[in-house]
Each structure stands twice: as C-alpha cells, then as structure tokens.
C-alpha cells in the first residue's frame, strides 16, 4: 500500500538517502581494487546529506509519516517493510551524513596510499547505508537487521588492518560483545511479538499505540523486554560492563573511530531506546539510569590513567554515552538525544584532531626511523608549536566536552544534569547520588580532557627527535584534513543548537522533540548547576595545567590504583579468564564428552556387538566350520597319506596290498 501521493517524493527521497551509500558500496565492491579514489562514496554521502536535509525540513514538526509495504506473511502475521519518519528520525538522519561527509573528506587524505583503501571506501559506504537504514525503518525486525549490519560494518572497519593481530582480536571481540547485545535485542523482539503480535514501531509506540493503551505497564515480561532491549543498547553503546570492545576498537583507522565509534554507531543504542521509549516501565528505566551512571563514572576513571590518545577519547565517549543513558533512564530522552547530537560533533572533531596528531607522529616515526608508539601521550608534548590550528580545534572540542560555556556541550550537559536533579529530587535522597556522581564525572571529564590537551600540545617535547631535526616532518595537516575539522569545530559552538548560549531550554532540538517529562522543572537549578559545573571545570583545568603543562606531577604514576585504572580494573583479564577461558573450557569438555562419552557409548556398543560377533565368529570358524574344515583336513591328510602310497615304488604297492589284506583278515577273524 502506498501512502498519499504528496508523500511519494518524500518516500523516494528516503529510499535514495539510504540507498545511495549502498549503491556506492556495490559499485566499489564490483570494481574491486581499482576503486581507490573514494569519489563514489563521497558523492553518495553528500547526496544523502542533501536529501536528508530535504527530508528533515519536510518532516520536522509534522505528524509522523509512515510508509509500509508487506514483506512476507508468516502464519497469520504479516511482516512489513516500512519507513517511519518523525522528528527524532529527521534529526538523526541529518546528523549521520553531516558527520560522515567531513569524515569522508578527511579520509581521502588520511587513508591516502593505504594498500587496502578500496576496501576502506567499500566498508565506509556499507556502514553509512546500514546506519541510515537503522534510522528510518519502521519495525523492530528491520531495525534489528540494520542494527547488526552496522555492527558488521564496524567489524570490518576495526579489522581493516587485518594483518595486525591486535586489530583482528579487537574486531572479533567487538562483534561478539555486540552479539550479546543483539541477543538481548532479539529476545526483546520475541517478547514484543508474543505479547503484542506485531513488531511495528508505529503501531506499538505511537501516541495511540498498543503500549499507550495498556493499563498495567509493570508486567514482568514488559520489564524483561525493556531490559532485553537495553542489553542490546548496552552492547552497542558500550555501557559497563559490555563496554570493553570500544577501547579495543580503536585499532581501526582513526577516521573510522571518529565516525563509528564516537559519533554515530555507538549512539545507536541511545537512539534505539529513544525510539522505543514507551516500552520502558519504572523498573527498566531505573536499571538504565543506574547502568548509565556506573558507566559514566568508571569510564571517566579509566580515562584518567590512559596514555594512548585514542583510548582516552574512547573512554570519554563511553563516559558520555553513560550520560545519555542516564538521560534516557530518567525519562528525559530529549536531553539524551541533545547530548548525543552535540557529542557527535565535538567527539568526532576530537578524534579527527587526534588522528591528525597521530598522522604527524607517524610521519615523524617514519622520518627518523624511530621505534615509538605514535599514539602514546608520553611521546608527545609541545606539539602546538608545529600544529597550532590543530591544537586550537582540539582545545575547542575539549572545552565542549568539558561543558564550558559558549560551547554546545555546555548546553546539552547542563540540560541533562539539571533534568537528572529534577528527577532525583522527586524521588528521594538515594536517587540524588546519580546527579551528584554525574557532576563529579563532569569535573573529571574536564580534568582528563585538559590532561590530554596539555600533555600533547603544551610543555616541552618529550622525544629527542623533536630537537635538531632540520626540516621538521611534523606540521599542520593538509587542507582536506583541516577543513573538515574546522567545519566540525564550528559545529561545536552554541549557535547551531540554541540562540541563548546559557540556556538549553530554548534549544530548538528540545522543543522539537517535545518529550513530556515526568517530573516538574525546578528553575533554581538552571542557575545553580551551570555555575557549579563551570567552577568545577575551571578548577580542574587549572589543576591539570599545573600538573601536566608545567610538569609538576605530584602523584605516583606507577601506583596500583593508577595501573588498575589504566587496565580498566582488570575487567578484560576477568572476562578473558572467566568467560572466554570458561567457555573454551566448557567447549573442550563438551568435545571430550562427545569423543569419550557419547561417541564412547556408541563405540562401546559397537565394541560389544563386535565382541559378540567375534565370539560367534570364533564359534563359527572353530566349532561349526571347524568340523567341516576338520573333515576336509582329515580327508586331505588321508588323501596325502594314500597319495604316499601312489609313489611309484613297487614296494609301497605291495605294502598297501598286504596291509589291506591284513585288515581284511582282521575283519574276517574278528567279525
């Protein structure tokens, strides 16, 4: 069934938006090694961006638009392919290509000369297709399909340099952990299907959907469904303890990290939760907020002790994703989406800038034939002398990350924390722990971003190669890398999101999403929280300046706590030892069981039968056949004896004759 005609253009636009990267993917897959320029991918993503903008304008603040075609029928249920467009979709639909375009352009320079670049473009287009598909589809099954495809593209990109052992370990890990999430998603789908008989998002979650008609939302299965979906989101959005794949995923090319593992894919979990938000009841939401808080805290702590520039950013991403989860968990998923959007830009910029730094360090490494890790902060320092623009852009992004006024981060983070406070104050003292922790994390965030900036760009260079090199290899990145960064840098500032730099409530995004909050707004907080945050941020940055830029580091970097934080409290080792080795052990055990018990029983049975048959065969050969054979042997023996007689010797004949005569006589006598 086709919707009303005015929407037809919109439908085609959506299909084109999603399928342009797919076409690029197919084109490059067919061309193979010869498609190195990436032009198809870039063209496709720019086309997608333009179309997405058109769609967003059409859809924004309109009633949701829903297209549906029957896909297949199974039993009495028909499954549909469909598109569901609403404000949330429109926002995300613009965001993804908007981030992707700079990343694509950046990649032309960053990936230049790589032997596998044709694969790179292929995978990147595949990812864009999957991500865009994930945003527009109208039912959970299709969403699941794209959900996994996104993970698959991420798998391919993490393992892009497949000859590196660590990269292939990382992509396997990423895929498997995402698989755990996928199982949650699948079970969620199963629960929804068996409870409601449909997987259609519109039918389920719209204002008059099935869920809104339910009286009792607190049934066990509903909670289970909520948690199942959340597990899916946890894996994709790297929530503790399923976050372990994301730091490892930094093995992929940095441009990929910026697009997939910072801005878009990891945010898909938040998007999913926002999209199916009516499903969650109190219990599920509480679980979400607690996990989110936990993630935010632990990841921030881990980030403090990292030396790898990309890992710091990875943990910071995890930490920020924790924020978003809290946003969803308190029911204010609009703030979560808001933070998602702002975060996408500044985190992408951070990664791209880090990529530029790594790129230059790599050049230096090749130039001096040195042996050092180009991603390690301890090898950097004083880079602002050679890369001032990069330093400024990265600093800007860090400020946004830290939530400094005038940046986008300030707006979204404040909105989120304020909402959390409002939510907590309605519930009780214990709940206050969540916003309090979030503020602490925010301060920590400021600290570690400052640490990153100061260690990399300020102070004196730590490597000897920086001194006395004639024509210095480290320099500002080229235009095709710089301009995307500049673009993103602009997007880190407040005007894109709200005209009032100090008040998030005027943001067009929040008003567009228009989520009814379950808690009352407390206006006093809108002043209190930002000032607290800014004070804390400034203090922590100052401290970081003292410690890192001026090299007055007071702590023991080798202390157990620091090491533990660097190793993420040994959670990987724990996983390895308990889960991986455990399952491998079980697998070996199962195989042993199979070989020795199951097959052993079969063999035993076979052996018994064989033994019995051997016995009967023995009886047959020795007893039954033995008689026959014995008779034959006797005949043979006798024949042989009589043959002896036939030896041509006359005396033998005589002997035989006499013997017979003798026997005859005996017979005559004795008979």
């Amino acid at each position: 069934m086709l919707a009303a005609t005015p929407h037809n253009t919109l439908l085609y636009a959506v299909i084109a938006t999603v399928c342009l990267p797919l076409l690029a993917f197919i084109y490059q897959a067919v061309k193979g090694r010869s498609a190195q320029t990436g032009i198809p991918s870039i063209t496709a993503i720019i086309g997608s961006l333009l179309l997405a903008s058109y769609i967003a304008v059409q859809v924004w603040n309109q009633p949701p638009i829903h297209f549906q075609y029957s896909w297949f029928t199974l039993g009495e249920n028909t499954f549909y392919i469909g598109i569901l467009l609403n404000n949330l979709t429109a926002l995300m639909l613009v965001l993804v290509p908007l981030i992707a375009v700079p990343v694509h352009i950046y990649s032309t320079a960053y990936m230049q000369g790589d032997a596998g670049i044709h694969r790179y473009w292929m995978y990147l287009s595949l990812f864009c297709f999957a991500m865009l598909g994930l945003l527009v589809v109208d039912n959970l099954l299709l969403m699941y399909i794209f959900w996994e495809l996104v993970g698959f593209a991420s798998y391919l990109l993490i393992g892009f340099w497949y000859t590196r052992e660590s990269a292939v370990q990382a992509n396997k890990k990423a895929f498997l952990i995402n698989r755990i999430g996928d199982l949650g998603f699948l079970i969620g789908i199963a629960i929804i299907f068996s409870e409601f008989g449909t997987l259609d998002l519109h039918a389920l979650f719209s204002e008059n959907g099935l869920l809104s008609q339910m009286d009792n939302l607190s049934s066990t299965w509903l909670t289970a469904a909520g948690i199942a979906f959340f597990i899916g989101a946890m894996a994709k959005s790297a929530q503790f303890p399923l976050h372990v794949w994301l730091p490892d995923a930094m093995e992929g090319p940095t441009a990929v990290s910026s697009l997939i593992h910072a801005a878009t894919m990891v945010a898909a979990g938040v998007f999913l939760l926002a999209r199916i938000f009516p499903l969650f009841n109190e219990h599920a939401l509480l679980v979400i907020s607690i996990v989110g808080t936990l993630t935010a805290c632990t990841a921030a702590c881990f980030a403090l002790a990292q030396y790898d520039i990309k890992k710091i950013l990875a943990y910071s991403t995890i930490s920020q994703l924790g924020y978003m989860m809290v946003g969803v968990g308190i029911g204010a998923y609009d703030t979560a989406i808001f933070h998602l959007l702002t975060h996408a830009f500044f985190k992408c910029l951070l990664f791209l800038a880090a990529g530029a730094v790594i790129h230059e360090m790599q050049h230096l490494k090749q130039h001096v034939q040195g042996d050092f890790d180009p991603q390690d902060l301890r090898n950097m320092g004083g880079l602002k002398r050679w890369m001032p623009k990069t330093a400024i852009l990265m600093g800007l992004a860090s400020l946004a990350l830290a939530g400094f006024p005038l940046t986008s981060g300030f707006l979204s983070k404040d909105a989120l924390i304020i909402s959390t406070f409002e939510w907590a104050s309605e519930r009780g003292l214990v709940y206050q722990l969540i916003p309090a922790l979030l503020i602490l994390v925010s301060i920590l965030t400021a600290f570690y971003s400052a640490r990153l900036i100061f260690k990399a760009f300020f102070g004196e260079p730590r490597l000897p190669y920086f001194h006395g090199v004639e024509k210095h290899p480290v320099h500002e990145p080229g235009a095709s890398m710089l301009w995307p960064m500049v673009f993103l840098g602009i997007c880190c500032l407040f005007p894109l999101f709200s005209l009032n730099p100090f008040s998030s409530s005027h943001s067009w995004i929040l008003s567009g999403l228009a989520v009814p909050h379950s808690f009352a707004a407390i206006h006093a907080l809108h002043l209190l929280i930002p000032s607290m945050l800014v004070t804390g941020t400034v203090l922590s940055i100052t401290l970081a300046w003292k410690w890192y830029a001026q090299d007055k580091y007071p702590l023991n970097a080798q202390s157990a706590l620091m090491l533990a934080a660097e190793k993420q409290f040994y959670i990987n080792e724990f996983n390895q030892r308990i889960w991986v080795n455990g399952i491998l052990g079980i697998a070996k055990g199962a195989y042993w069981l199979d070989r020795h018990i199951v097959d052993g029983l079969v063999q035993l049975f076979a052996g018994c039968v064989q033994y019995i048959s051997k016995v009967s065969s023995w009886v047959d050969t020795h007893i039954v056949d033995g008689l026959v054979n014995g008779l034959a042997a006797l005949t043979y023996w006798l024949g042989n004896i009589f043959r002896q007689a036939q030896n041509g010797k006359i005396q033998s004949y005589f002997l035989a004759a006499f013997f017979t005569l003798f026997m005859g006589l005996l017979y005559l006598i004795f008979s």
């Binding site: 036939q646 030896n647 041509g648 010797k649 006359i650 005396q651 006499f658």
Partner: protein, 101 residues
C-alpha cells in the same frame, strides 16, 4: 607223527618273513626271494594238509604244481629284473618310480 599245527606255525613264520623281505629289501632279487619264501610257506601248507588226503593226493600234486609255477615266475621275474637293470642301471625298487602319480 608231527601235528599239523606245527607245520602251520612254521609256514606262518616263513610267510611273514617273506612278506617282510618283499616290503623291506632294497633289491629286486631279494623281493623275488621273498616271493619264493611265501610260495614255499604255501607249499609247506599243501603238503602238511595233503597228508590227510591219501585218495586224491591233492596236497602233494598241488605242491608240485606250485613249484613249477614258482620256477616259471622266477624265470620271468629274473628276466624282467635283468631288463630293468639294463634300463635303469639299478635294481633298487625305490629308485624305479615311473609309476608315480
């Protein structure tokens, strides 16, 4: 008067020895000798029994016949032996095995 049993026992002994000579000796002439011994044993029996038949004198008549036969047999046998010897350069019957299967 000597009882017939005595004769018969002696004849049995001679007969057995004749058989032995036939079977065991490695010389065709000695085989012939063995045959003669057997015939002699038979003749002894003829005459021993012939004593109880005065009317027909069957025993002695046939003893004489047997002697004649024996003589004829010996004559032919020896002729054969000579021929065999000429042919095989031996009269050891063990080495004459053309009848072998």
């Amino acid at each position: 008067m000597i009882s017939i049993t005595h004769f018969l026992i002696v004849s049995a002994c001679i007969f057995s020895l004749g058989i032995y000579a036939i079977l065991a000796k490695r010389n065709a002439i000695m085989i012939l000798v063995g045959i003669e011994l057997i015939i002699n044993a038979a003749i002894l029996n003829f005459v021993a029994f012939g004593r109880y038949d005065k009317i027909h004198y069957g025993g002695q008549v046939f003893a004489l016949f047997a002697m004649v036969l024996a003589a004829a047999a010996v004559a032919v046998g020896l002729a054969i032996i000579l021929n065999v010897y000429r042919h095989y350069r031996t009269i050891n019957p063990d080495q004459i095995t053309d009848l072998k299967d």
